[in-house]
Subunit: 458 residues, 2 copies
């Protein structure tokens, strides 16, 4: 990162002194991802900088840029420059960019691409966002089954330059029905005169254009694929998804799950370029919902009001009991939610999970109860001389903790599993939701146990 | 998944009727990842099933299996079978497996590999877990700079079969100093008589053997690499990391972050094979710590005890205020933590973030306050005829909510940023930690505002 800062400073200086030649020399061998970060610092001069890049690096850097900067640049490009950009971009990147641009820029982008590309782009744009179709590129290597290895390699050499990957080649019938695949490695290591149909892999993993992109990423990760073929409803090959896009999806999905677990409505817009109003809109629904649910907790307290008034010391431990219950339940729910997401846990394991959490919760509950009991008797009662904290109160609080932790952990593992069973997203059953439920339950447990064990409260 | 269940049932039936030939036919074209799931169902018959697989598929399936099943299988294999397995495995997979096995199995594995491999394995085992060195494989394609494209392709054809990838070839000096790289695509698309040093890429991303694997995964994702070279302290190439391993790291890191955010000490052991005692050990430290911190909350309530006793209705809204504060703070902290993790947010943006969260929190706080005010006056006071809920109380609670949400969101964004600045992991500053702090703060705010606005309490 330090290095990038240095280069930014250098470019700033060179721009000031109009030394464009030095800038050109400086940036011509850099990585597109780094260049996009540097260009972010010079939004006013983006067109100047962009024009100093060699053609292929320019296209790769363009793809890496944030969409706001892309838009700034696109509106400054001449028609012929726009044509050049469009010709260099891979189809899947073009579609990604088009989806983020305002209508007038989209129109110019489409009219700058050749008619064939324009048709393909329009076809891909029709697939639902988050589908395999919207993620794929149509630039893959396609081989006939009856050609030899030598012919296949020749074909790759002739057409490979425009393909996003040449490392997995797909074998299809003339009507594009998918028959199998062969890797470039296998082609290179096989004898020249072997026929493709005899050496290709016929057990092939593929997805439909309408498959969810989360499934796409999971399949690619599970089977260690560099590319995944996408077929239409007639099983005809229409595109491929490459591993770099799958990695992006894996990161996005993790972010989405984390947001859902924190009671936020997920958005794929970067935080810094989201307006406060949009952020508010993603956060307020859950806040309101959780606030209304916590009304139950208030009702419970209200109904025990007279008892609490007669033994106010009980009130002091409410936040600690609720907090511990919420934390314990949150731990379990998040473990189960993530386990379900990465398929480490299945619904059929429900009884194994319940039994395990029961044992864990008894261990956790007992440890917390002992710690609390010791703390209440030694610190509150002896050290701080708070005589309202009697041994009776300490027993009530400790016993409540054990029961609360057990209940919290069982709720914490059951709710995500039930959500999964009902076809809902388990991630919304994370800490905030569990906490609200556990709050009410722990209060009932606490006040129930207190009523039973403290004579004056009866 | 349905299909896999069917095949499991079929295999169960075929095992019963000793029809091994049919099993062999059934599984010989399946995917390793699927086979490993199926084999998990037959731990008692694992050696039988394994012996029915063709040699290369056997090795690939072995790699995909859970370590417990691997161990079960290894102890049943003969010495010559063990040798075969070891010969088929890639070095990085071998090291992964060895790290999970008990000492006696490790000894047998090492003695079954040839002396050269054994030395490499022992070298890799010396790298710290989580380092690039422990993740790499030594089976890559290495080219001299002065050979032609034709020679390079010949070399790949001769030696490529044992390499984990041939798609990125590394160009080194005779002492293995890294000079550059060339992709198989470039080789295939270039003229046969060109010299490697003239067409190779010299701006090359690499990492040191001691680099953290999280950085490795980030670099590969950022620069869209299929393989990343690993060099020693003298800049000599010692191995490569392939993209499939980077994907695993990305998923593991996301899981770790999620666990930390839920106040769990991360563990890379799958949930179902972790004992309740181990799970307890990962969860109890934070539970105890958070419980002790919540003592402050109890102290605050205790010190306001007499005031609360004189206006018990105030107690009823404590959980709702604390809950809303915790949720609001949790939303912000999780957003910031994830933003930092995927490098969407940088420390230098701190003032931008604070200003944004200030605006968001005023919006959220106002919305929640209005909802609460309406609910208290319309439902509690009018509908439920709870006359203790006066307009004064409703104003106190609503005003408290605004202040609490603002404070919670500012704490929620400041703490992870401070942690990052201090070189700590921001993920531990997530909801449970924030909640405990916000609990105490919101209570102080609530009781402070109540004391100021309700005449009887002064």
């Amino acid at each position: 990162m330090e290095e990038i800062k240095d280069i930014s400073l250098k470019i700033d200086f060179l721009l000031e002194s109009h030394d464009y030649y030095s800038i050109k020399e400086l940036i011509k061998e850099m990585e597109p991802a780094d260049l996009s970060v540097i260009f972010e610092e010079f939004p006013q001069r983006i067109a100047t900088l962009y024009r100093l890049l060699p053609k292929d690096l320019a296209a790769e850097t363009f793809v890496e840029m944030e969409s706001e900067l892309q838009e700034k640049l696109l509106v400054q490009l001449t028609d012929s420059e726009m044509k050049e950009v469009m010709a260099e971009l891979y189809i899947d990147d073009t579609v990604d960019i088009i989806e983020e641009m305002p209508a007038n820029v989209v129109k110019r982008m489409l009219s700058s691409s050749d008619p064939e590309t324009r048709k393909i782009i329009n076809d891909i744009l029709k697939y639902p966002a988050d589908s395999a179709g919207s993620l794929m590129t149509t630039e893959y290597v396609c081989l006939d089954e009856d050609i030899t290895v030598e012919d296949a390699l020749k074909r790759i050499r002739r057409t490979g330059v425009d393909k996003e990957t040449i490392y997995t080649c797909y074998v299809t019938k003339p009507d594009r029905t998918l028959l199998g695949y062969i890797t470039a490695k296998k082609l290179l290591l096989s004898d020249d005169d072997l026929v493709i149909s005899n050496i290709m892999e016929t057990s092939i993993i593929f997805v439909n254009t309408h498959e969810d992109k989360e499934i796409v990423a999971k399949e690619m990760s599970k089977y260690d694929l560099l590319a995944l073929p996408v077929v239409d409803n007639e099983n005809r090959l229409v595109g491929i998804i490459t591993v770099d896009d799958a990695i992006d999806v894996i990161e996005e999905e993790a972010t989405e799950d984390i947001e859902k677990m924190a009671a936020i409505i997920p958005s794929d817009k970067p935080y810094l370029s989201t307006s406060p109003f949009e952020i508010w809109r993603n956060r307020i629904p859950w806040l309101i919902l959780l606030m209304l649910t916590s009304t139950f907790t208030s009702q419970i307290i209200t109904s025990f009001e007279s008892k609490l008034a007669s033994c106010v010391v009980l009130t002091a431990f409410i936040p600690m009991i609720m907090g511990s219950g919420g934390n314990a339940g949150g731990q379990t729910s998040v473990t189960i939610i993530r386990g379900l997401a990465i398929e480490e846990i299945n619904l059929k394991d429900i009884f194994k999970i319940l039994f395990k959490e029961l044992r864990v919760s008894v261990l956790c509950g007992t440890a917390l109860a002992l710690a609390t009991f010791a703390k209440m008797m030694l610190i509150d009662n002896l050290l701080l001389q708070n005589k309202a904290v009697t041994i009776n109160i300490a027993i009530v609080v400790s016993f409540t903790l054990i029961v609360t932790i057990v209940v919290a952990k069982l709720v914490g593992c059951l709710l995500p599993l039930i959500a999964k069973r009902l076809g809902l997203d388990p991630a919304v059953m994370a800490s905030p939701f569990i906490t609200t439920i556990v709050d009410a339950l722990s209060l009932l447990i606490y006040l129930g146990i207190a009523t039973a064990l403290i004579p004056g409260l009866n």
